[in-house]
Amino acid sequence: MCGRAQYIDDMSLPRMLHGATVRSSVPRGRIVGIEFGPGIPWDEFVIVTATDIPGENEIALINHDWPCLAKDFINHPEEPIVLLAHADRHLLPKAVAAVRVQYEELPAVFTIEESERAETVVWGEDNVFKRFLLEKGDVDAAWAQADLIIEGEYRTGAQEHLYIENNGAIAQFTSAQGLTVWGSLQCPFYVHKSLVKLTGLPEEKVRIVQMETGGAFGGKEDYPSMIGAHAALLAMKAGRPVKIVYDRAEDMAATTKRHPSRTRHRTAVTRDGKLVGAEIEITLDGGAYSTLSSTVLSRATIHAGGPYYWPNIRVQAKAVATNCPPHGAFRGFGAPQSLFAIERHMDHIAESLGMAPEEVRRRNFLRPGLTTTTGQEIREALDLEKLTERALAESDYYAKRRQFARGNAESEMKKKGIGLATFLHGSGFTGSGERYLNSLVAMDITPEGKARVLVSSTEFGQGTNTILCQIAAEALGVDYEAVEMGPPDTSVVPNSGPTVASRTSMVVGKLVQSAAYGLKQTLLASELLAEEYTTEEFVTAARSYVAGHGALRAESRYNAPPGVFWDDDAYRGEAYAAYAWAVYVAEVTVDLTTCGVTVDDFVAVQEVGRVLNPVLAMGQIEGGVAQGIGWVLYENVVWRRGRMANNQMTNYIIPTSQDIPPIRVFFEEKPFGHGAYGAKGIGELPMDGPAPAILNAVAHATGKQFDAVPLLAEEMYRRMVVHEAEPEAPAL
């Protein structure tokens, strides 16, 4: 609030150099030479190439294919090849431009279809990073029970995170103290793991510290391992601290984005609107390296059936390679893509049946006792009908549907529409992810007697610090002011897992709660604290305990809730310990003069367990809805031979204060027994609903079907003014 919060670019160290990256200008090829051109005092520069890497040339994630620096081969534009450092940051752009890399270009693939054809193989044997097959019931027999078979194809484009703070890191190395990397990041231990492998240093000689982080949204989940590695390599070679902070153009061109997708649906329905079978085929464009694509794909696969009961369903999913920078984590993590498809498809089904969109959904909602596509029984008191009724009432849906039908007949140039989307979002890591993470949380007492939360879960605007302190204070029975956060520093805090997957409140919060109980029990047992106490008495007792015993610390490790088991091999079971559920309604105006779509009103009703902090929760929903509006109506990544051509804020458009409708947020609260004080995940859910709700509203307004994200004015013009036909859905 006073401008004193320290972000990475606000930090400076004595004798610090600035670093920059020489990147590939071709999408695919062999490096045949690197030339350091004239006019640059090269002897003043620290220069790093792949041969300077002491350990493995790899950004450690799931597979081992993502190099830290390209050595012989280039697989996408903007791939890092050479690192430069110099004290004068103004000299760096000239130096980067003076490095000439010669390539022998190789054929490349740029679209899902080119990759699928595999005439040019750019990854593995067939360009496929990962496949999933999810099957329930007997789909092949379901077609015979159908009165109607409805097909559709749905596409979504890449999306840039556009956190306002670009990626950045500072590294410092001394042989005595080892390596320290400060950065703008979500997951300190991801960076730690990657740097241990890259440098070959022992774990205790690598320390990662998160600075204030100016937005992330998944975009600082994997990439900080890359920029952190680059700063580290330069700092180790220079023997001086090195800072690398990207400018906007480099951040947009080189770092990760949301996976583009293509989803095909083929659905068997009865005349009374019962879903009897589905065949769904999902393909994600993963970019040049596998990075996190397999896990993004898994979430997309599991969410593909939406919040509906399918007696028979088959989901075939794959992530494929193309020669563009790797796509990565972005709020929603695959779910927005597959939920967009099913929720547009449900409106197609409704139209084919001559049934109202809300009615066909109602007839197929998951209910307690029914099973999801992965065979997970709904054991919570789920009531999607009630959520839907509330959303329809708050948005005045029925009256508006009638009113718009009348108004649109009279208005030639302005068409209004209202549409809905009903959806779910699994909280926490997918499948057995949380078991593998095996998160550890600790709490201790400061010398002043304050309770301190020790986690690697980070704050980047979503309210982690407030929520976790609030949970700890509630568990300890003390005022919020008596609790503080430990530093987000891997040398101080245990690994409570990455700050992703809407897991912080529910999973990490629960561990904070039990660690807090641990502290309290120790103090009660020591008899320094009586059963009934005030905050002051707690602080005094805690201070005395620490003075007498040296320290007080309690830990808590993850245990899966009972009955939650995921079978990795069969790809079945409890995919998530809990789901958040939502119904969103969008009201739009389509202006046939400008061909623009404006969202006039947005109602977001959700059930996310207990709402721990209403202001933060509303902020999460509103922010997610705004990003969803951006994705569906404004944000268009223009690709040229695998490179983002519009890598500037000037021509990659995100919503401004004038583009956002009233966003009316409502919560139905149903405490979840295994989350901290009843909480479930919340952060990603609001990204899932806006795109389908808005395009369903556009279909209602125009009578035309738009099945691709983003819907830009050009497409509206093509379809509504020059009346080009909608593309035919190819059969599966």
Partner: protein, 139 residues
């Protein structure tokens, strides 16, 4: 020539003013130059010669927070904080010109300041609250 933004951040150590895009789109570097709201990434420092510059650091601090800062804190108008300094400066500018802005005036007054976290709703509430607090302070 150095940009006003670089002089503020690197030479004067006033790192509260942020760089988001370097091309005048995002407003993270907003400051007031002789009372006018400008993007300091687009202003060569020579143009600021003799001018009065107000940055977020000039608004108020800690125990003496400005009404605008208090309103953003109370209403959840800041999430990651990166757009916040520019947003606070732009709000101050708006309220000086229009002490009781309606929602349309707020939307327009902040349309040069991009926020990726909040969806703006809580920022609008913050500005409304800041207007109330400021008017109470004036009595």
């Amino acid at each position: 020539m150095a940009r006003l933004l670089d002089v503020l951040r690197c030479e004067l150590g006033l790192t509260g003013t942020k760089e988001g895009c370097g091309e005048g789109e995002c407003g993270a570097c907003s400051v007031l130059l002789n009372g006018e709201l400008i993007n300091s990434c687009l202003v060569p420092v020579a143009q600021a010669d003799g001018a009065e510059i107000e940055t977020v650091e000039g608004l108020g601090c800690d125990e003496r927070l400005h009404a605008v800062q208090r309103a953003f804190l109370e209403c959840g108008g800041a999430q990651c904080g990166m757009c916040t300094p520019g947003m606070l400066v732009a709000t101050t500018h708006l309220l000086r010109k229009n002490p009781q802005p309606d929602l349309e005036a707020i939307r327009e007054g902040l349309n040069g300041n991009l926020c990726r976290c909040t969806g703006y709703i809580r920022i609008f509430e913050s500005v409304e609250k800041a207007a109330r607090l400021s008017s109470e302070e004036r009595g």
